[in-house]
């Protein structure tokens, strides 16, 4: 695997999967409307070769006004559909502002889908502010900082999460900001499990 990782930017040229293309089609709409997002899910490990499937891609989105959201909604619904509701007011007021995610899939195709939610916690905001630019072949995605991604997967704690954490750690261990990584392990109280899983 050849990639470069410098100054919060990763460059990776590879054969894209349909999953990659699906994510790119959706995030291009966000870019078009200048909506800031960060991908935080297991998909981050899949981009870098993790051999597992996923049904959803988790996106944290900057907080939008209803007017901003409605404009985005109208354009997203040209090619995508919202699984939860077809009413933008309900999507915004009953889901997003209540910190509940909505899901978008391409029309008539249930899986994969985008899990779309607003940032809520300080950790969410930090993730968005410190997102990593990923130049993926001819497209650009924004992903969670790798150090946090690994530590958070260890915190989540399922077998699948441990495997995701180990996969990303193995790929990026020579590129990690060790101090930042150590601080997240400490903050999330996963130093002990990190030694067990990542060694």
């Amino acid at each position: 695997m050849e990639f470069s990782f410098q100054n919060k930017k990763i460059i990776l040229n590879k054969t894209l999967s349909e999953l990659d293309n699906f994510v790119i089609r959706f995030t291009k709409l966000l870019d078009h409307f200048n909506v800031k997002y960060v991908i935080v899910s297991g998909y981050v490990s899949i981009i870098f070769g993790r051999s597992r499937h996923t049904e959803d891609i988790d996106l944290l989105i900057e907080h939008l006004s209803f007017e901003q959201f409605e404009q985005l909604w109208k354009n997203v619904l040209i090619k995508f559909e919202c699984i939860n509701t077809d009413d933008p007011k309900e999507a915004y007021h009953n889901f997003l502002t209540e910190n509940v995610a909505i899901r978008f899939s391409e029309k008539g195709i249930f899986i994969p889908n985008i899990e779309f939610k607003f940032v809520k916690t300080d950790l969410d905001k930090w993730t968005l502010d410190n997102r990593i630019e990923l130049a993926l072949s001819n497209s650009t995605l924004f992903i969670s900082p790798i150090e946090l991604q690994i530590a958070f997967k260890l915190f989540l704690g399922s077998e699948k999460d441990f495997e995701d954490a180990k996969h990303i750690y193995n790929i990026f261990k020579d590129h990690l900001n060790k101090k930042l990584f150590g601080e997240f392990l400490l903050k999330l109280r996963v130093e002990k499990i990190a030694k067990q899983v990542l060694s």
Partner: protein
């Protein structure tokens, strides 16, 4: 119905062994990824990822057809 005897200690050992084997597999797989050119690993990987999406959606479409 007669249920089988379950040796929980044995099952726990098997679970731990399975976990260790999975972790070892990830080490082997990431070693291979790191030394394999992008065009080779990513083509295999894309085939694997795309096969999962196709299978799931064809099942959903088939279920919808059965209902109709």
């Amino acid at each position: 119905m007669n249920l089988p005897n379950i040796d929980l200690e044995e099952l726990k050992k098997d679970r731990e062994k399975n976990h260790a084997e999975r972790m070892k597999f990830i080490d082997m797989y990431t070693d291979w990824l790191k030394k394999t050119p992008n065009e080779i690993w990513s083509k295999q990987h894309a085939n694997f990822i795309d096969s999962g999406i196709t299978i799931v959606n064809s099942r959903i479409i088939n279920k919808k057809s059965e209902k109709i």
